[in-house]
Every structure is written in C-alpha cells, then in structure tokens.
C-alpha cells in the first residue's frame, strides 16, 4: 500500500479499485486481495474471487445468464427507448451519454428483464446494469420493471430483481423520480396477487432505487460487502460532519441493524433463491 492509498478513506479506495470493468486479457487482478487470477476461473465463479471471495460487479446480462435456466427465456420490453423529454444537456447531451453507455455495455438500457425459469419453475427475473449510466432509473427502466411485474402477475409466477444502481437518473428530472412511485405501485399489485418478490441488493444500491423497488422485497437479500443506502456516504459525511463508522452501509452492517434479511454468496445465490421460492409458493385459490 502506498502512502497515498493509506490516507484515502476506505470508501474511495473501494470505489477506485472495483469501479471500472475488469480489464481485458487472460489475467485479472483481484482489487481486494491483489491475487492474480486466471480470467476463466473468475468467470466460472461468477466474478467472485476464488482466493478471497470478493464479489466483483457483474453486468445485467451476465447476471441473468448465470441465474436463469438456459431455456426458456424471453426478454421483455426490449425495444423501449428513452426519448429525452427534457432535451437535457449538462457538460454533455443526455442523448450522447445514452449512446455512449449503449456502446460500452451492449445494452439499450440499465435494466434487463426476462421471463424464464429457475430449476424448472417459472419466474420473472430482472437485473440492473451498473455499467449503464450507473444503473440509474429513468423512464425505460421503470417501464421495463413494471412490464416484468405485469407479466409475473399474468403468469402467476414470482419476481426476482437484482439491484445495482446509483439511484434516479437526473437527466430525466421528475420523470425519473416518479419511476419510484410507479414501480412501487406495480409491486403493490404483485403483493395483492399473493406472489413472492425477492429483492437482491448488489454493490452498489443507492438512492431512489433503494427507496422504492429494492426495499419492497418479501425477502431482501444482499451480496457480501455490497454498499447499500439511501444517501451516499459522501453526502452523509458532509451533512453530519463526522467520520462514518467502520463498515457503514455495507451489507453486513445493514443486516446487523435489521435493514435486510440475509446475505448470500453469489455462488450460492441460484440455489438459495430457488429454495426460498419453493417455500414461498402462491397459495392455491380458495372458493
């Protein structure tokens, strides 16, 4: 560790170390334990370091690929596209930021939704892509999520969502804020249909996404070490003018404070969620 790394607060260090995508090539370095890893091994273990179990960030499609059965799969809301209602421009145009994110990730938006199955049982699964504008929730993300919920209700199957997001997408102004109430209203319908909703929080899950769909799971699961919160650590530090407690807003801290139900290692996620869904099957219709 250099002197410079030593003086950086742990949050920033963490961000720097796993912020970017894992570099191209045959080998990768774990940002946590510095081990040099054979990329194929890393892929096989779902981007979890085989040496220290550090959970690297995972793209939305990779996530769903590893989670759902190979067949059947149907992607929902594929063609929905943002139409930049505010003609928003900061240092860059919103439209340019969008096409940049599309090129970088190969995705059209920050949420991918699929109707598929898990161990042969029908399910709707969705995943945020943090690489796509920080997984921010705009109109398309909200609409895709609601289509996922609608499909789950129509087919009488449960919903699983993997969150990874910085929050609402500022470039869509109030449209993005209202995706919070939109997605939450849809989840009320899922709840009334008696269907399970498992919400999985991955690194990082913040802001408007946490304060809506992510915290409404019947069971709220988190990956080890994931940063989860309403306000970002920097904002809190500035507001309260004091150093934050060790491990603040990390999954383990939140479980200790009763904010989330359980922490599950990514390598166990598929079987753990399948097992939960087995136990949370809808009641047979009465009457």
């Amino acid at each position: 560790m250099t002197w410079f790394q030593r003086i950086m607060p742990p949050k920033i260090k963490k961000k720097e170390s796993n912020g970017g995508n894992i570099p191209e090539g045959l080998w990768a370095k774990c940002p946590d334990c510095q081990a040099i890893l054979y990329r194929k091994d890393l892929e096989r273990s779902l981007q979890v370091c085989p040496k220290c179990s550090h959970h690297h960030r995972l793209g939305a499609r990779e996530r769903l690929d590893g989670f759902l059965d190979e067949e059947p799969r149907e992607e929902l809301g594929v063609h929905l596209a943002s139409n930049d209602p505010l003609r928003f421009r900061d240092a860059k145009k919103y439209r340019d930021r969008l096409s940049q994110a599309q090129k970088k990730t190969g995705e059209r938006e920050a949420l991918v939704v699929m109707r598929g199955s898990l161990h042969g049982q029908g399910v709707v699964a969705s995943a945020f892509d943090f690489g796509f504008m920080g997984g921010s929730m705009g109109s398309v993300v909200g609409e895709r999520f609601v289509r996922g919920v609608d499909r789950a209700v129509a087919d009488g199957v449960p919903l699983v969502n993997f969150a990874a997001s910085g929050g609402a997408r500022m470039q869509e102004g109030l449209f993005s804020l209202l995706q919070m109430s939109k997605t939450s209203a849809a989840l009320a319908r899922l709840d009334e249909a008696g269907l399970a909703y498992l919400s999985v929080l991955t690194d990082p899950t913040m802001g408007g996404v946490t304060a809506s769909l992510a915290m409404l799971g019947d069971v709220i699961v988190a990956e080890p070490g994931a940063l989860i919160g309403f306000a970002g650590p920097r904002v809190i530090e500035q507001t309260v003018q004091e150093t934050l407690p060790e491990g603040f807003q990390e999954a383990e801290f939140l479980q200790e404070h009763g904010v989330i139900d359980t922490i599950v290692d990514r390598r166990e996620m598929r079987s753990a969620l399948a097992d939960l869904l087995d136990c949370l099957a809808p009641l047979p219709a009465t009457g």
């Binding site: 139409n83 209602p85 900061d90 500022m170 919070m180 109430s181 304060a211 904002v235 603040f248 404070h257």
Partner: protein, 320 residues
C-alpha cells in the same frame, strides 16, 4: 440586506420601506401624503408584477425556499379548524420535521400530513430543516392507515429539501420507510390530495407525495435532486445551480405541461409570503373542491384511476 427579501426582491423592499416611512411620518390623514403613498403603492405593484412575471427557475427555487413562505402548520392554522396534532411512529419516536393530525376542512374531518420547516434558528434545528427521518415517514403511514379505517380523506403538504441523510436514518431504514409509503399510498382506500407548497425535494417529498390529485403552488418546485446537487454531480460545480435548475424543469408550470402534476394554484402577487391570508383562502377553496369530487367517486374506481396515473408516469418510445 434584509432576510425578509431575496436579492431580486430588493427593489420591492426599498419601495416598501419608503411607503412605511411615509405612513409613519403622518398620523393625520394628510391628503398629499396619502396621494404619494397611493402612487408609490401603484408603482410597487407594477414593479412586483414585472419582477415576478419573469422569474427564472433558479429564482423560483429561491421563492420556494423563502424564509417568510407559509409552512404546513401555517396553512393548517389558516385554512383548517380544530387541528389535533398526533405524534409518533409507535416504534422509535416522534419526528418534528413531518407533522400530522386530524383537522376539519369546512367542517369535514380530514387527516393532514406535511413536512414542517422552522422559521428561526432554534425552530429550524428542532424541525431539522424540514428533513424527515424514517420515524417521520412511519408516523405518516400510521396516520394514513388511521384515516383509511375511518375513510377520512388524506391531505398532504410537501415542503422539504429531502429526507435526512444521516447515520441514524440509514440504520433505521430511511429507504424502507419511504419505499413502503410509496407502495401503501398507491393502494390506500381513501382519497389522497397532494399539495407541493414549497420545496418538493426528491424521494423525501415523494414519500408523502402519492395520491389522486397532485397540485403545486405557483412558486413551488419539485425535482429529483436539488439544483445545487445536480450541478455538483453533472457539472462538477455546485455554483452552476442556475443552469441545472433550468435543465431539470423544476417549476410548477413546466411540470404541469410535462403532464406530471394535475394543477397549478396561483399565488398572490409577489408570492404566498406577501399575502398568506389570501393564499390560505384560495387554497382552502381549491382543496374543498377536490374533496367534493374525490369523495363522491366510488373507492374502487378511485384506486384504479390512481394506479393508472402512477404507472403512466414516464416518457419513452416503443421502438421497432
């Protein structure tokens, strides 16, 4: 400079001082001075009309946070009768930044819930600058459930910079408290009217902002993040708040044109703080009208319409 006035209100402040001075020098009704006062008042009106006719979004956000602007408890005192404040979330504590209770509007019992800011330093601290903690949102939900049980209409008043970003708030589940309100308000079996009366700051505003009718007072704002916050993230420079306020579209009229709220209620000339009595009278009339309409609608129909409106929010193309 005087904290009753904003920078761009200074010409108004100067004329008003002059008018006050003239009133002060004469106890007897002197005709000439009377005429002079009238002339200055006419001038002041024209000037106020001119200034307030062309406010930039950034200036509007200053008016929305005006230190003299009426707060939730001011409207409750002026437009309602018999307010009984109900405290606490029954789990952790009472949050003075989010108040609520039973009151009467035109003799009709209603549940009123709103963010509350403070006027002087001591009260500002007590009210935590109108930034609620999780127990505030949980109290709000408790009161809404009570309203639902007795079919009291719920009237909420939004006026917050945002939910409080603090260590305790995170530990006690700020996100969960807001999220739960969003889901439960979407299906609460009683009419809800939401009024943005000042600052509609992000998730902290929306946490009591889901309803059958959403209105904004003319000089209030509603946004996904404060102009300063947006500027510091996207422009990397919080002093460019003026530009971000423009870009995000935070004013009542713009948001109504975007179809994201239902109504803009005009404020008296120069803003609600210039004539709080007049504002409260208008406000009462508007609210009574909506309650008449909403309480006549069968509840299942109301809930279906509420749901349709909530999921219709968004702007996107279907694509090919």
């Amino acid at each position: 400079m005087n904290n009753r006035f904003l920078d761009f209100e200074q010409p108004i402040s100067e004329l008003e001082a002059k008018i006050e001075e003239l009133r002060y020098v004469t106890d007897e009704p002197d005709l000439n001075i009377g005429e002079e006062i009238e002339r200055l008042e006419r001038k002041n009106r024209r000037q106020t009309e001119k200034i307030y006719g062309h406010l930039t979004p950034w200036q509007v956000s200053q008016v929305a946070r005006h230190p003299r602007r009426p707060f939730t408890l001011d409207y409750i005192a002026k437009a309602f009768t018999g307010f009984r404040e109900l405290h606490g979330d029954r789990g952790f504590g009472d949050d003075p930044a989010l108040v609520g209770g039973i009151a009467r509007l035109d003799d009709r019992p209603v549940m009123v819930i709103g963010h509350q800011k403070g006027r002087d330093t001591k009260e500002k601290l007590h009210r935590n600058f109108g930034m609620p903690r999780p127990e505030g949102y949980r109290k709000a939900l408790r009161l809404m459930r009570l309203a639902e049980k007795f079919r009291l209409p719920v009237l909420t008043f939004v006026d917050t910079p945002g939910a409080y970003p603090g260590v305790g708030a995170e530990k006690r589940g700020q996100s969960e408290a807001i999220a739960r309100n969003l889901r439960e308000m979407a299906r609460l079996r009683t009419p809800i009217v939401v009024s943005v009366i000042g600052e509609g700051g992000s998730g902290g505003a929306l946490g009591i902002g889901v309803g059958d009718h959403v209105l904004m007072l003319q000089y209030s704002t509603y946004s996904v993040i404060s102009p300063e916050g947006c500027a510091s993230i996207l422009w990397k420079d919080s002093s460019r708040a003026e530009e971000s306020a423009e870009a995000m579209g935070i004013t009542a009229e713009r948001i109504r044109k975007l179809g994201l709220i239902d109504e803009v209620v005009d404020e008296p000339l120069g803003g609600a703080h210039r004539d709080p009595e007049e504002m409260a009278d208008r406000f009462r009339e508007v609210l009574v009208g909506h309650l008449d309409r909403l309480t006549r609608t069968p509840i299942d129909q109301l809930l279906e319409e509420r749901y349709r409106r909530l999921v219709a929010a968004g702007s996107y193309d279907e694509g090919g």
